[in-house]
Symmetry: C2
Subunit: 165 residues, 2 copies
Amino acid sequence: MTVSKTPPDHDASSVEPQDMEDMEGLRQAIELLFFAYRDFTAEPDAILAHYNFGRAHHRVIYFVGRNSGITVSQLLDILQITKQSLARVLRQLIDEGFIEQRQDLGDGRRRLLHLLDKGVEIEALLTARQAARIAAAFAAAGADAPQGFKDVLRGMINKKDRQRV
Amino acid sequence: MTVSKTPPDHDASSVEPQDMEDMEGLRQAIELLFFAYRDFTAEPDAILAHYNFGRAHHRVIYFVGRNSGITVSQLLDILQITKQSLARVLRQLIDEGFIEQRQDLGDGRRRLLHLLDKGVEIEALLTARQAARIAAAFAAAGADAPQGFKDVLRGMINKKDRQRV
DNA sequence: AAATATACGTCAGCCTTGTTGACATATATG
DNA sequence: CATATATGTCAACAAGGCTGACGTATATTT
C-alpha cells in the first residue's frame, strides 16, 4: 500500500461562494439529518431483527397500518421501489400472517392490504418507539420547534408528494 | 393465490391510548421524515450513479470533506458501519483518485484521509444540491423554522453523538 | 365480442452495501 | 519484549434495491 508522508494539516478555512453565506447552517442541517435518521432507524431495525425482518418490512407494515385498505400500486407510489422489491417483503408478511389482502369488490384487479393482529401489534411497538424519540426531542426543543420541524421537512419533499402528509 | 372477498372497509377510527394524545402529530413527523429523507437522498443518488458510486461513497466523501485529515476509525464512529464495509468503498475512492490517505506523523498507525481535487469537486456538487433543497425549505417555512428544525433533529440523535454537529 | 389496458404476481439474475469471522502488518505503549 | 491499537484484506453471506421477461385476472375500449 502506498501512503504519502506529510505533516497533518487542518485545511485552514475553505473558500465559500458569496451567494452561499449561510452554507455553514445548511451543512449543519445536512449532518443533523444524517445523524438523526441514522439513530431514528437503528432502534426499529434492532427490534425487526428479532422477527427476521428489515427496514423494508417496517415501511410496508407502517404504511399499510396507516392506510388500511391501500392497494399495491398506491403503496408502490409511496415507497418508490419496484413491484418486485415490494413483492419480496410483502410475500413474507402475508405468508407469516402480518398482512392480509382482500379483493376489492369494486375493481377485482385490486388487492386491498390490511394488517392482521400480529401486524397491528408490531406496528404499534415500532411506532411507539419512534414516536417516543420524536416526542422527547419535541419536549426538549422550544414550543415552536415542532411546527418549524414539520414545515421544513414538508418543504424538502418533492412537490408531488407534499400533500400526502 | 388465495384472496378473501370482503367489502372495502375504512377501518373507522382506531383507539389511541390516552397517554399519547398527540400521537397524530408524532405520526405526521414520522411520515414527513420518511418522505423528506427519501427525496433528500434520491437526488444525490442519481448523480452518484453517473460515477458508478452509491450512497455509501457519498457519505465517505462528505465526511472526509467536512473533516479533512479524519482517521479511518473516526470515520467508522460516524458512519457506524463495519470497517470491512467502509474499506470496500474507501478502496474504490482511493483507487479512483477521489481520496488520498497520508500517514499521521505523530502516530504512524493512523491514516489521515483527504479529498483530492476530484473529491472536492463531487463533494461540492452533491452538497450544493442538498443544501439548495434545504435552503428552499428554510425559505418557504417561517423565519424561526430552521432553528426549530435543527433543535428537534439534534434531540433525536443519541446523546453520545449530539455534540458532533 | 374482441382487442387492449390495467393491476398484480412471479421467476431469474445482478448490484450495492450491510454483516461475521479470521487473519496479517505496522506502529505504539507498558 | 510483550501486548495493544490502527488499519487492511480475504471469504462468505444476507437484505433489499434493480432490470427484463412473462403470466393471469379483470376492466375498459373499440
